[in-house]
């Protein structure tokens, strides 16, 4: 009787097998989300209230202080709604990605997941897969609904370029979230970095006011803030109807940020996971 051993699969087969597991995560989180109906409803009510608030604030704002996109000067609500949508996307995605693994640890399922033949990268991706699909959909739906309800003058041809900018922006937020997940795994309760990062990114993004109102030195820094690039690109597409040319520039600027963020994020997360195994504290919360 010879000793049983473990055979290694080919790299391609491993990738295929790992990808095939993502729908299981999606189904799991969909069932869980549907079991919290009230939370789903209140989230949308909150968004609606925020929009109404900006509608009235917008009535006080002189449109001449707002930047022009494609030669047309939009109203404040049109300007702010894109900021609300993308800023909300960042806050939500950053929090969900960062706390996804933490929640598994708290619920006690992290070790059960790690005992399955699933790569830690797949577990990380799977844990936020639902949110990575739901949050952009929610953002797009929010823009469409506010445009319809408040009669906002968005260029229909701008939706696809705007969505593409958002998709390229996702890995940047995801990378930040994964890095923060690694920090949370290490320092346990709230490294607080996700909230701080979301606040700083949003403050210097021009989401709610034009960047030109900032002190010039801060404006210079804010111009290279990936969130500001994404918001500006989406506004140019939706408000100015600039099409793919400006969107392409925004995408070219965002792509390096997205790549570096994702690589560094997963590197930090891997380090944290190895440290937890070494210390034997993976199950502690």
């Amino acid at each position: 009787m010879s000793a049983p051993t473990v055979a290694a699969d080919s790299r391609l087969a491993v990738v295929r097998d790992e990808l095939a597991k993502l729908p299981a995560f999606l189904r799991r989180d969909l069932v869980v989300a549907l079991s919290y109906r009230m939370s789903f409803v209140t989230e949308w009510i909150g968004l609606g209230v925020q929009t109404v608030l900006f509608y009235f604030v917008g009535r006080m704002v002189n449109p001449s202080v707002l930047p022009a996109y494609g030669g047309t000067r939009a109203g404040y609500l049109e300007f702010a709604v894109v900021g609300i949508a993308v800023g909300g996307f960042v806050t939500l995605a950053l929090a969900r990605v960062a706390t996804g693994i933490r929640n598994e640890q708290m619920v006690g399922t992290l070790e059960s997941l790690l005992m399955t033949p699933t790569a830690p990268t797949t577990i990380q991706l799977g844990t936020v897969f639902y949110d990575l699909l739901y949050i952009p959909l929610r953002t797009a739906l929010f823009l469409v609904l506010t445009a319809a309800l408040f009669g906002l003058d968005f260029h229909a041809a701008g939706f696809l370029p705007a969505l593409t900018i958002l998709l390229v922006f996702i890995p940047f937020v995801w990378g930040l979230g994964v890095a923060n997940a690694g920090l949370i795994l290490t320092f346990r309760r709230g490294s607080g970095i996700a909230g701080f990062a979301a606040t700083m990114l949003t403050l210097a993004s021009g989401a709610f006011f034009p960047l030109s109102l900032l002190p010039s030195w801060l404006e210079t820094i804010a111009r290279i803030n990936p969130l500001a690039i994404a918001i500006d690109g989406m506004r140019a597409a939706l408000l100015g109807g600039s099409g793919w040319t400006d969107a392409g520039i925004a995408i070219a600027k965002l792509a390096p940020f997205a790549s570096v963020s994702l690589v560094v994020g997963f590197w930090i997360f891997g380090l944290a996971l190895r440290r937890e195994r070494r210390l034997g504290t993976l199950g502690l919360y």
Binding site: M1, S2, A3, P4, T5, V6, A7, A8, D9, V14, D17, A20, K21, P23, A24, F25, R27, R28, V31, V32, S35, Y36, V107, G108, T109, E111, S112, L113, L114, M115, T116, P117, T118, A119, R277, R278, G280, L282, G283
Partner: protein
């Protein structure tokens, strides 16, 4: 009289697996330190394919730490662990697919999902295709008697049901290594028997099983070999019979009757009659005439009983207070 020093047989009982079967789990000099506390101290253990190996030990003896190291969830501070020919600390994807872990806690499921949804999820993560996963999930739920609660949320399960679900999850695949931590804790006798049968079946298919438990009574007739951990040290490895041989039965339940009609046996009377052979006190059941005899280390039961009889106390019944395995456990852990 001072109690005897606990018996340490680590050196003269090499942790060799059952002969003629290949070794699947091989731990060599494994130590694990958590800050200043040494949870495991140079533990060496080998478990063969098809073997059920019990790890006994009191709370905090290091059983769970050992299992977590074998599962690749915790790295040892020192030593080497090989599972299925691979370094367990690598926790490779392929290796994890061959190990089934039954954790001791019940915090390992999604409480808002049903038992079936949970198993489907873990089956998919174990690489089963959707249809196979569904079929297998139903099979294992039925095997642990949870088919009636398949659609019920796990949050509504009792501890025992969650434990059974945990057992079901471990059997979603047919693991070559099964690491079981306190599996029958919280289970009724029937459910415990079902779990024993499932584990025995896995071993018969060739799985190497490590069964960590505090319930010493369940190992007889179930496990092939046993190891005992005491404060992180392996102080015994061998067969169940060899383990039971360490039992030094010192406590007996006696039923006494006074030779003089109409006079009850009192504790003071029994103590005087026993003399230096040990101590005697009324038994916990409170029945008249029932006494618990605790023999002194160098005393012999026959002599003690003869002494009682000589004082006109008739011994109507005498039985050991515990099973020999439980006694061995207490002797070896220094708690007799």
């Amino acid at each position: 009289m001072a109690s005897p020093a606990p018996i340490i047989v680590r050196d003269d009982a090499p942790a060799a697996p059952l002969p003629s079967r290949p070794t699947v789990i091989d731990a060599d000099g494994v130590s694990r330190r958590f800050r200043r506390r040494l949870a495991l101290d140079r533990v060496s253990l080998a478990v063969a394919a098809g073997e059920i190996h019990a790890i006994l030990g009191r709370n905090g003896a290091g059983k769970t730490t050992l299992l977590r190291i074998l599962a690749g969830l915790t790295a040892p501070t020192e030593g080497r662990v090989t599972v299925l020919g691979q370094d367990a600390t690598s926790a490779s994807r392929a290796l994890r697919g061959r190990i089934g872990l039954l954790p001791s806690g019940d915090r390992s499921f999604y409480l808002r999902l049903s038992g079936l949804e949970n198993l489907l999820f873990f089956a998919r993560l174990n690489g089963l295709r959707k249809r196979d996963a569904l079929e297998r999930a139903h099979q294992v739920l039925a095997s642990v008697g949870l088919d009636h609660a398949a659609e019920q949320r796990v949050g509504e399960y009792s501890h025992g049901m969650q434990k059974r679900l945990s057992v079901a999850r471990a059997f979603l695949t047919e693991p070559d290594v099964l690491l079981v931590d306190e599996a029958t804790h919280d289970l009724d006798p029937h459910a415990a028997l079902v779990v024993h049968d499932l584990v025995r079946g896995a071993a018969e298919r060739g799985a190497a099983v490590i069964w960590a438990t505090q319930r010493v009574d369940e190992i007889r007739g179930f496990v092939d070999r046993v190891s005992l951990l005491r404060e992180g040290e392996l102080c015994f490895t061998g067969s169940v019979a060899a383990f039971a041989a360490h039992a030094l039965v010192k406590r007996h339940l006696l039923t006494l009757r006074n030779g003089r009609p109409g006079v009850a046996v009192s504790e003071a009377m029994a103590r005087r009659a026993l003399g230096d052979f040990g101590s005697i006190a009324a038994a916990a059941d409170g029945e008249p005439g029932h006494f618990l005899l605790r023999l002194a280390d160098d005393a012999v039961l026959g002599d003690a009983l003869a002494h009682l009889a000589a004082a006109d106390l008739k011994v109507l019944a005498c039985r050991e207070e515990r099973s020999d395995i439980e006694t061995a456990f207490l002797e070896l852990t220094g708690r007799a």
